[in-house]
Amino acid sequence: MSHDHSNPLPSYMKVFYSLMALTVLTVLAAKQLTFPHEWGTPGDILHVAIGVVIAVIKVIAVMYIFMHLKFDHPMLRFFVYIPVFLFLVFGFALNFLESFTYTH
């Protein structure tokens, strides 16, 4: 079932190149980018945040272009939004897990 009249090939290639570039970027960010060492854990959190943001951008590109979410029936987007929402709720609750009572 073809989705629209325009030719998607250029956008496929664009997504492909940007995925490749972002992959390189995420590796570079992890390996080369340094925050002041005295930052300790916050620096690590920044690293994690950068990794996650890049991954999210890549995933959005894959879903919207390769998987046609952008062109298809809007209802299909809910098949992504709802799990993402539930994951956020779940992850939020889990982050409380160890905060209780290993007291010194």
């Binding site: 079932m1 492909f16 992959t23 992890a30 300790g40 690293h47 390769f66 779940f90 982050n95």
Partner: protein, 206 residues
């Protein structure tokens, strides 16, 4: 008599049944990996050093190669679908073949990676195993299973593509393509989570 009945009409949403069900299944798959990632978050927070040391030990170059392979095969999959929809059978077969090749390439790299981990005694039950490697084998293992599961119908479609009639159902290939992109998508998260997120002090130590 029942031939006259019009009960099985066009899908109301205009989305083919298989594709709609596949999206629902992918929602389900997202939740499946959400379970793993939820556990990953918790245990990483509580075993910060162990996770860092584990990550640092992994071979991220192999994983990077694998990322490129998967992205490439995602692209070839999209191109294969495009060509099948436009009845270009030759190009369809070419790109489908490349996609399958990508799957194989991914698995071969994975095999190399795994065997060096076995050699280092990191498999569960072996002496150097830690909870990080539990996650490593769990996530990459389930991901690899998904790759294998995707390659079986792809091989079938590929060989069907060589018959006289060609492969007649573009919408089924599109559905399979969704799945294949999802496998790629999961890897996009797994790769930085397992291989790249190394805390400084641990990274420095290695």
């Amino acid at each position: 008599m029942s031939l006259a009945l019009n009960l099985s009409h066009e899908p109301i949403t205009k989305i083919p049944h298989g594709k709609l069900a596949m999206w629902a299944f992918l929602a389900s798959e997202l939740m499946f990996f959400s379970g793993f990632f939820g556990g990953f978050i918790v245990l990483r927070n509580t075993n910060y050093d162990v996770f860092g040391a584990g990550s640092a030990h992994l071979n991220w170059t192999l994983a990077l190669i694998n990322t490129f392979i998967l992205i490439g095969s995602s692209l070839t999959m999209a191109l294969a679908i495009h060509n099948l929809e436009h009845k270009k059978d030759g190009a369809f077969r070419l790109f489908m073949g490349l996609t399958i090749l990508g799957g194989f390439g991914f698995l071969i790299v994975k095999y190399i990676e795994y065997s060096s981990k076995f050699a280092d005694g990191l498999f569960p039950g072996q002496e150097n195993h830690t909870v990080f490697y539990s996650f490593y084998f769990l996530m990459t293992g389930f991901h690899a299973l998904h790759v294998i599961a995707g390659m079986i119908p792809m091989a079938y479609i590929f060989f069907k593509g060589f018959t006289k009639a060609g492969y007649p159902y573009p919408s089924k290939v599109e559905t399979l393509g969704l799945y294949w992109h999802f496998v790629d998508l999961m890897w996009i998260f797994i790769f930085p989570a397992l291989y790249l997120m190394i805390p400084y002090h641990v990274a420095g130590a290695h």
